[in-house]
Symmetry: C2
Subunit: 447 residues, 2 copies
């Protein structure tokens, strides 16, 4: 491994020789002195080189080397990866971190094409075409550092609780959610379908007596829409636990996970988030407010917004309105909307005892947008089959799933959460395209 | 949440009232006394109930309840999930953990069908048909607890080193490895393909200046073979790091990850592994032995095995032989075979400086089976294009990938490792079907 020093570690070093590696962010090529801003994954540092513009005929090798270095810097294309050795010097007059490296030798590891295809003001679509360059911006890269920290904190909670990590198959023989949004795969002599969620398989783990499971993995929806919140492939954060009394137990776990995730992000990246996103990220307090959906719709109506939907569901503006209300009334960024109508929930959501028009379910709304759906599942096979029929589904097609319930299964529930949405809303971004490593949509499969 | 006590926590409790929940493993219905073995995700406990076979006419409610409980136990189908309250009693005469619970009340949460479709001696294929029942066996469930611990330890190392977790898309516009084993997806008006590995996308992160990345996610191969080591969908453990000098740096990281993973597994599950698998799992020592492939083939030949392949590769028996040699010579379960011929490596592996017939690559062999391929990648665009042409590939089709190298990229490398293979070999299993949550093969898409 090259013995380079990460830029973020320079501040703690005394003045003296160092090696740094990274890419060229800017070059200021003045007559007498050259400045290069070198950036690596941890930060940026100023390199300085007194220019040697010409040497006498017959000058010594050292002078020739100085000339070569000067010319190499003049020729440096932005984005080129370089390794530099030089003298670290702490100097409070240097704006960038109060230090600079006086260049002794320069190795251009790979030169970039001189013309950069995107600029700071390029459209989002153009930036996505050149995502690998877009991600060099500290702000874009920070998103994925935050995501790493967030996921690691969630997994820490799950592991601590003894839950089991599963990797469920993405190739299925039939639909897991709705036939309408299903991708079909040529599978040898037949067909397979891409999993729209790990729903059936994480429930299978409950029948297997696993007690509780989690998974962070891809899910696929053949959704032709082009909103800022939808993708054809997205990372779903899933968990499912046994022996619950109701969806309230799922919400309690959900809160605990979010608090742990936000705490870790605030601790590790709070200052950078304030710096690059202008956001003072706070850890949400528990419990998160809970509002039954019917009540939430009344609150929204009282605010003067009539939800233009024929079914019983919220719409995006309704979610924004109820979120605004919760922020005003409780000072909270999160709200659980509970007890959704059975008419707009999948067949496997458990219905209220005594009122089958409502389900033991919730959506979690964060800063005005739905990030997750959770529920207690129906584990009684006769009721489950009835509810599937109710939804116009053919129980025969669901045989493999229904079998999970025929040999005993504990009461259970869980949630699925869109990772990119959480990050989008946490950082005040306007599209999940910004918080997805490589976005996939109806017209985007590249890069 | 139900206030049940996990079975593993009973031992530490004093005698007294407890509630346990789980499924019925066995029932011994004797005339005077009934025994039920209840298992949950943490262990098994004996429940005991003095049988009440009949009550006098006009007996009190309590006596009727005792009769009802006795009859309920007699009717209990194996696998049914139950919640039991009763008196915990420590009694060293009880073989199972030195304790039992004297049953006070029994709630049959979900009754199982009385006929269990699989038995201990069922074929692997039959067991896979009923995977959710198969996974109730402590041995099968332990596999996924071990996997959870192993992955969490790996991620701990990556996070500690500052690597970034990425979720790369599984929907691609073209092949990432070989056209031959590519699944095709109907994608709106066109076609997409399922990623065979995150190779291109984890390299993209190096061009993006991420420094180092990791991913644990699905990979897909339309491989029609039915061996014990292949699946059409498998979990790939991937990492890629920048600023390496050679594949030696990748191997150093690989070793560090394996040692951390094995250490965590031994610490947390060593005793259970010994108990259920009869294996005394040890943490491998560093460094793992390294043998150049040419030398390994000579060693194998000297042992009397001639590899029946026309190309320069090892075959499975060759891998077993070299592993046996390493075990004899160095007492090690792991061996890095290095410097594979360019002819049998993908176009993106870097070739030796001075000998383009060899690559800066390795396979990691564990207990006789290849579990991973790693390499330094070629980051020089002109060389990379040349190597792609060499392999008969059309650089035009690789344009989006080749672009990653045109705007600067540091030297880098990484590996991909099959998770189910590691677990299979760690636990002495004979097929990855045993160590995959839900196996997918050419003729298996269910459950």
């Amino acid at each position: 491994m090259s013995t380079r020093t990460l830029v973020k570690n320079l501040a703690a070093l005394p003045d003296g020789p160092v090696t740094v590696s990274g890419w060229v962010e800017t070059v200021r090529d003045q007559k007498k002195v050259q400045f290069v801003i070198l950036r690596d994954e941890s930060g940026a540092v100023q390199l300085v080189n007194p220019a040697t513009r010409e040497v006498e005929e017959g000058a010594d090798a050292e002078a020739s080397a100085r000339l070569a270095t000067t010319e190499a810097i003049s020729a440096l294309a932005h984005g080129s990866f370089i390794t530099v050795t030089g003298e670290l010097k702490h100097d409070e007059r240097v704006k960038l971190g109060g230090l600079e490296v006086k260049l002794a030798s320069l190795d251009v590891v790979t030169a970039a094409n001189p013309e950069t295809p995107i600029a700071a003001d390029s459209s989002l679509d153009k930036r996505m075409d050149w995502r690998f360059l877009d991600l060099r911006h500290p702000k874009q890269a920070l998103i994925f550092r935050i995501q790493t920290t967030f996921l690691h904190a969630l997994r820490g909670v799950w592991v601590e609780k003894g839950l089991i990590e599963i990797q469920t198959p993405k190739l299925m023989a039939s639909a897991s959610e709705s036939r309408a949004e299903l991708f079909e795969v040529e599978y040898f002599e037949g067909k397979a379908y891409l999993a729209q969620s790990p729903q059936f398989f994480k429930q299978m783990a409950q029948a297997a007596g696993f007690g509780g499971v989690f998974e962070v993995g891809p899910a696929f929806r053949a959704d032709p829409s082009f909103t800022s919140r939808h993708a054809t492939e997205f990372t779903s954060v899933d968990t499912e636990i046994s022996w619950i009394d109701s969806h309230e137990d799922v919400m309690a776990l959900h809160e605990e996970l979010m608090v742990a995730g936000f705490q870790a992000v605030v601790d590790k990246h709070g200052a950078e988030i304030a710096d690059l996103f202008g956001i003072e990220l706070a850890v949400p307090s528990r419990p998160f407010p809970r509002i039954p959906l019917a009540e939430a719709k009344q609150i929204v109506a009282d605010r003067g917004y009539v939800i233009p939907r024929a079914d019983d569901d919220m719409d995006p503006e309704g979610e924004r309105q109820i979120s605004a209300y919760v922020k005003e009334a409780f000072g909270h960024d999160f709200v659980f909307l509970t007890d959704y109508a059975a008419s707009i929930r999948p067949f496997y959501h458990m219905r209220h005892e005594g009122d089958p028009s409502l389900t033991n379910s919730y959506d979690l709304i964060y800063n005005g947008v739905e990030i997750s759906t959770g529920a207690q599942r129906e584990h009684r096979i006769d009721v489950l089959v009835e509810q599937a029929r109710d939804k116009g589904m053919d129980p025969e097609e669901l045989e493999f799933y229904l079998d999970f319930f025929r040999y005993g299964v504990p009461p259970h529930g869980g949630f699925g959460m869109g990772l990119a949405r959480v990050l989008m809303l946490m950082l005040g971004e306007t599209s999940i395209r910004e918080t997805t490593y490589l976005f996939r949509g109806p017209t985007r499969l590249l890069p």
